[in-house]
Amino acid sequence: MNSDSATRITPGNALRPEDIAAAGTRADPDVAAYALRLGDDALILAQRLGWWISRAPELEEDVALGNIALDLMGHARSFLTYAGSADGRSEDDLAYWRKETEFRSAHLVEQPNGDFARTIARQLAVSYYSFELYSALQRSADPTLAAIAAKAVKEVDYHRDHSAQWVLRLGLGTDESRRRMIRALDLTWPYVGELFDDDELVVSLDGSAVLPSSLKPAFDSGIAAVLRDAELELPAVQPAPGGGRQGRHSEHLGYLLAEMQVLAREHPGASW
């Protein structure tokens, strides 16, 4: 990587969205569309996790989920800043002024929080997927995508550990916690398949994007190891119809966006 690049990673000098904006690099339109997907996944999940703040089962877990939400918010800001550089839109334009049909997130991240087990099941799938994705994306031909991934992968590694620890404890805990964990996997896993769909965009971005289907073997073996330790099994569930990458969302996203965007839309241009 170019040593004077604004997106270089050095200890104590992790990439910030402001650095991406200041670098003035304009993303190729296809790369921008890809960055938008990654940013939307992180943004919607961060919004979902933010709901838990003050509601988690324990104070310590409240802080942990809040930390994870903020990590994801950081990833979203970087990806959205880069995505917006293609056509002069800011991260705020993209987060607060797009309609539901313009969001490119997967259905999994917009699923309801449900109980703690359901949130953990969703987090397990997303964090194991994201870890493989960012590990591979560090080698992207696009230096900005590679730099964002290099920062994100360390945080996602922690998210992976957090969710795995909880799957173990819920799976091996009380009868009730085990019952809830099993139900949570049942409710969550139909939405996992969409993460691994290859479409024209990712195929055309060979070298810059990561082919989602290539992440499946490592994802499967990682999840299998966690579930084996927790004495749980993957449910045999029918995959839900996806469509998030084309802007076709479930009934949940509209409500989420209404709440997330209301302040920015009530007070355009406000900063906080």
Binding site: R48, G114, D115, Y158, E259
Partner: protein
Amino acid sequence: MTGGSTTGDDGSRPVAAAPAVPSAPAAAWPLWEVFVRSSRGLSHVHAGSLHAPDADMAVRNARDLYTRRNEGVSLWVVPASAIIASDPDSKGRFFESPQGKDYRHATYYTASEGVKHL
């Protein structure tokens, strides 16, 4: 900590906490004491306490709560039940100042005449 609905929601709308569910202290997580050595620190310093179901989670929670995941720190967690504290009620006797007890120090005593090599 107790409280907080774990029964969840069907979307992003908050759900009223289930009423009149007595908290169950018997099932509460045990308390852990946390000691942190910062990256430039020489020793572990008691930073606070937290609740966690076991030692692994206690270390993780301590990292979130007391180090903000900074580099170069060392964490100790100890079950609070493993710590034996001095009795605060015996403070007066236990920690009485050595002032006025000069006889505890060698300089209090004068050497006897004729004692050599002292």
